[in-house]
């Protein structure tokens, strides 16, 4: 595996860490062995935003996950993010579309700037093509309460890809949420082994209806539509895959 990490990402991480939090300097006289009157604790969580069984109209059925976990304080956090799927009945092991370790810093009330490294490839096997990449991300909440997660990836071969996800929770009742969701992928260069063409790759739009039995456990059902564009669509046609598909999902949102 090639571990050439783009300088861009390292640079960005360094820039972000230089803003590290100044430690409190107690300007009042107390004996050194007394505890601080207030102690700050780190926190962490694991969120499976999506853990679902996807049943496409044309493509193969698959188990899909969209996971993010973080640990840290209010300003600085470490994220582990992953999206991936295990296509059923293809005889292959599960695949990380992304497995990323990111450093995250709160740069505005609703925005985190993130930078890190990522891996794409098989989970436990060599069933899938592999690559590593550096990633810069901006995650947060837009006015109108739209949650967005944008990422710029630069692979070990210098290929650039951009992805943007947005979702919104419409509260139907106190426990029932309708969540429209969209994903847009764009690539700066063609990477044939990953089926990536140059330019707009794909647009995916979906909606999920989620019932929060508790905040931590919320099963849902949903539907999606996806369309590929340009060379990306051509690659799919060449392998006999559909370039436009719809599907339904059933899954659960989990928070620990």
């Amino acid at each position: 595996m090639n571990n050439r990490i783009p300088g861009l990402t390292i640079g960005a991480i360094l820039v972000m860490t230089t803003f590290s939090v100044a430690q409190a300097e107690d300007g009042y006289d107390v004996p050194a062995d007394w505890p601080a009157p207030m102690v700050e604790h780190n926190t962490g969580m694991v969120l499976f935003d999506r853990l679902e069984y996807s049943m496409p109209d044309k493509g193969e059925q698959a188990i899909v996950w969209d996971l993010q976990a973080w640990y840290g304080g209010d300003i600085n956090r470490v994220y582990l993010k992953s999206e991936g799927e295990n296509v059923q009945a293809d005889g292959e092991d599960a695949e990380f579309e992304s497995l990323e370790l990111r450093y995250s810093r709160l740069i505005a009330d609703f925005w985190e700037l993130q930078g890190g490294v990522g891996y794409q490839g098989g989970v436990f096997s060599d069933d899938h093509e592999e690559r590593t990449y550096g990633v810069m991300g901006l995650q947060g909440t837009m006015p109108w309460l739209i949650e967005v997660d944008g990422a710029l990836q630069v692979s070990d071969e210098g290929d650039i890809a951009l992805s943007l996800e947005g979702e919104y929770d419409l509260r139907v009742t106190q426990r029932l949420y309708l969540q429209p969701r969209t994903e847009i992928s764009v690539a700066g260069s063609e990477v044939e082994e990953f089926g990536v063409g140059k330019g707009l790759n794909s647009v995916k739009v979906g909606a999920r209806l989620r019932y929060e039995i508790t905040r931590r456990f919320a099963p849902y059902i949903g539907a999606w539509w996806e369309k590929q564009y340009g060379d990306t669509a051509d690659f799919s046609r060449a392998t006999g895959d559909a370039t436009e598909d719809t599907g339904v999902v059933a899954g659960v949102r989990l928070m620990f």
Partner: protein
């Protein structure tokens, strides 16, 4: 450094444990001071023997802190107990005494007791890391201080989140001189909020998911109901404003009845704790909000309550039907139930997600009617009303970035106008384009010659004539801060020599709370008060939540417009968008805590040290 020393327990731990267990079984599950007959006393009256076990009478008191199994609302729970009950016993002192309070820690972690509202030497204030080192497991700390005041107060842990576990109790100081009012009987009503979750879990939930405990958010149905009531344009404007700010107008309480059981004297509404009276008696109710996070609206349908003291200090009597009590505040009210009836003492939380309930009755086993519950209210423009645009830019009004402000154009204001914002006419609305929110900027010109308001005058931007969110002033007489007037002027009548402005700030999404945009972990050094100076503290709430701000060691004289008859308090409720000021005589040397008394706000950083030197 503390003059008092940490001494080994005077009784062995085993003895204490045995004592605690004996108490636990004898007094069963409730604090003994919560005995139904209360205290038949009053000035010159006899202390009822029936009550003696329930009180720890001063001047010398021993308190043992333990974690033990005590059912709450009929369910197994493990609160922190004090002398075997949770909340703890009534500590009763007398003005003029030299109090000696021995606190023994039988927990497996450090603890402390802070005597809330008491004027005492800094090293006796009970804040670990400021007043003393805290009380290590197995150790006893002896608090010694002269009792120089009287009234209704309380005590609680100042260590971590222990207060949420019931580590609190009432503290009453009997007056040396006759009080300015009389009564035949008294009852303590200590309001608390109990959760069966661990306090750390609650805190974590607040950190990991905004609105975790809020199950009264706006839904699609509310939108259509508003369209029906106010029209589409006004509704859309209001909703879009909140959406652009990325905030919830239903964010009234961070922790709600979805996890809390609200208690009076340790008892849930189902327990129906009953305070007894004989018809025609004048009953003094000493109401203490000892909860971690909950504001309550207290009323007794059928009875007028006459407020006679606020935060332990006497005020000119105010007859009301209801009063809002912020976290850590106390109010003393007199009621005269003259019928042989059961009256419901109803303490509804500010966010309407639940209530605490007790019964005032001539006999046990009676119940009054439970009043109809009110619905949660939406916050409106007043939540951001008291500051001008400059204030927003500089103070970093969280969640209000420039794009959001741009959205507040004239057309948006029209929408507001229709939604019934009284007192906001069009002329002041148009002022918003140029930076003045509401009509506040104009009012600010009311100053005296040295550029400051005269002492006691209400700050522009204060809303002392409003009880706050969810209260309909037309419905019944509700106490407001404007009603509070001291009986006589307090000794220090100097004008303030300077003003100190502090913004109450926060980031709801991250659950970060702070003063002037910086959490306690981010500030360097304390706030300095010069010894014996007279200063004005101005608190400007840039957040969309109420904050009960508590200063240790010194009174805050609330400048609510009554000139010399300025009321003094230990805890000031500052409503969203409000500008509140208090005069302080910095006569208490040492390091003092100054913080929001919402427990998880304090834990999240809304804490400062005030050093008087």
């Amino acid at each position: 450094m503390a003059t008092s020393s940490i001494t080994p327990p005077s009784v062995s731990r085993r003895q204490l444990l045995k004592g605690g267990m004996a108490l636990g079984t004898a007094a069963a599950l409730a604090p003994a001071w919560a005995t139904a007959w209360g205290q038949s006393s009053g000035p010159g009256g006899e202390h009822g023997n029936i009550y003696a076990n329930g009180i720890e009478e001063g001047p010398e008191v021993s308190l043992a802190i333990r974690r033990e199994s005590i059912p709450i609302d009929g369910q197994p729970a493990r609160p922190i107990s004090i002398n075997g009950s949770s909340p703890g016993p009534l500590v009763r002192l007398r003005e003029g005494q030299d109090a000696v309070l021995r606190v023994t820690n039988l927990l497996d972690e450090p603890t402390s007791i802070h005597w809330h509202g008491l004027i005492l030497p800094a090293e006796m204030d009970g804040v670990p890391g400021l007043s003393f080192a805290g009380i290590a497991p197995g150790e006893t700390f002896t608090y010694r201080f002269p009792v120089r005041q009287n009234g209704t107060y309380w005590y609680h842990s100042h260590s971590g989140l222990q207060e949420q576990l019931g580590h609190a109790g009432p503290l009453i100081i009997d007056a040396a001189e006759p009080e300015p009012f009389s009564y035949d009987r008294e009852h303590v009503l200590l309001l608390t909020d109990w959760t069966f979750e661990s306090p750390m879990t609650v805190f974590r939930n607040l950190k990991i998911a905004e609105g975790y405990y809020n199950h009264q958010e706006r839904t699609v149905a509310d939108f259509f109901a508003d369209v029906r009531d106010k029209g589409f344009a006004a509704t859309a404007e209001m909703r879009s404003m909140w959406a652009r700010m990325r905030m919830s107008s239903r964010d009234i309480a961070d922790v709600t009845g979805s996890t809390y059981t609200y208690l009076i004297n340790g008892h849930s509404p189902g327990d129906n704790w009953t305070a007894l009276f004989k018809a025609g008696e004048k009953v003094r109710l000493r109401v203490i909000n000892g909860s971690a996070m909950s504001y309550f609206d207290v009323r007794i349908p059928g009875l007028t309550m006459t407020v006679v003291a606020a935060d332990g200090q006497p005020v000119q009597p105010v007859p009301v039907d209801e009063f809002r009590i912020g976290v850590a505040e106390t109010y003393d009210v007199l009621v005269t139930p003259d019928s042989d009836l059961a009256y419901t003492i109803f303490a509804e939380t500010m966010d309407r997600s639940g209530y605490a309930l007790a019964t005032l009755a001539p006999r046990q086993g009676m119940r009054g009617q439970i009043p109809e519950r009110r619905r949660i209210a939406d916050r409106g423009m007043e939540a951001m009303g008291a500051h001008d645009m400059d204030g927003m830019d500089h103070s970093g009004m969280d969640g209000m970035d420039h794009s959001g402000m741009d959205g507040m154009d004239h057309s948006g204001m029209d929408g507001m106008d229709h939604s019934g914002m009284d007192g906001m006419d069009h002329s002041s609305m148009s002022g918003m384009d140029h930076g003045a929110m509401g009509g506040m900027a104009a009012e600010r010109e009311v100053v005296n010659t040295n550029g400051m308001l005269a002492a006691g005058q209400a700050q522009p931007g204060s809303r002392y004539d409003q009880a706050g969110i969810g209260i309909d002033p037309g419905e019944r007489r509700v106490l407001v801060y404007r009603d509070l007037m001291a009986l006589t002027p307090w000794p220090d009548r100097r004008a303030p020599g300077r003003e100190l402005e502090l913004h109450l700030t926060g980031n709801m999404e991250r659950y970060m709370w702070s003063f002037d945009g910086r959490k306690f972990s981010e500030v360097t050094g304390p706030i300095h008060f010069a010894k014996d100076e007279r200063l004005r503290l101005i608190l400007i709430n840039d957040t969309m939540m109420e904050h009960p701000i508590h200063l240790h060691g010194m009174w805050m004289e609330l400048e609510n417009g009554h000139g010399e008859l300025i009321p003094r308090k230990h805890t000031l409720n500052v409503k969203p968008g409000e500008r509140v000021s208090a005069l302080i005589t910095a006569d208490a040397e040492g390091s003092w805590a100054f913080h929001c008394h919402l427990l998880y706000h304090m834990e999240a950083g809304m804490f400062r040290v005030v050093q008087v030197a």
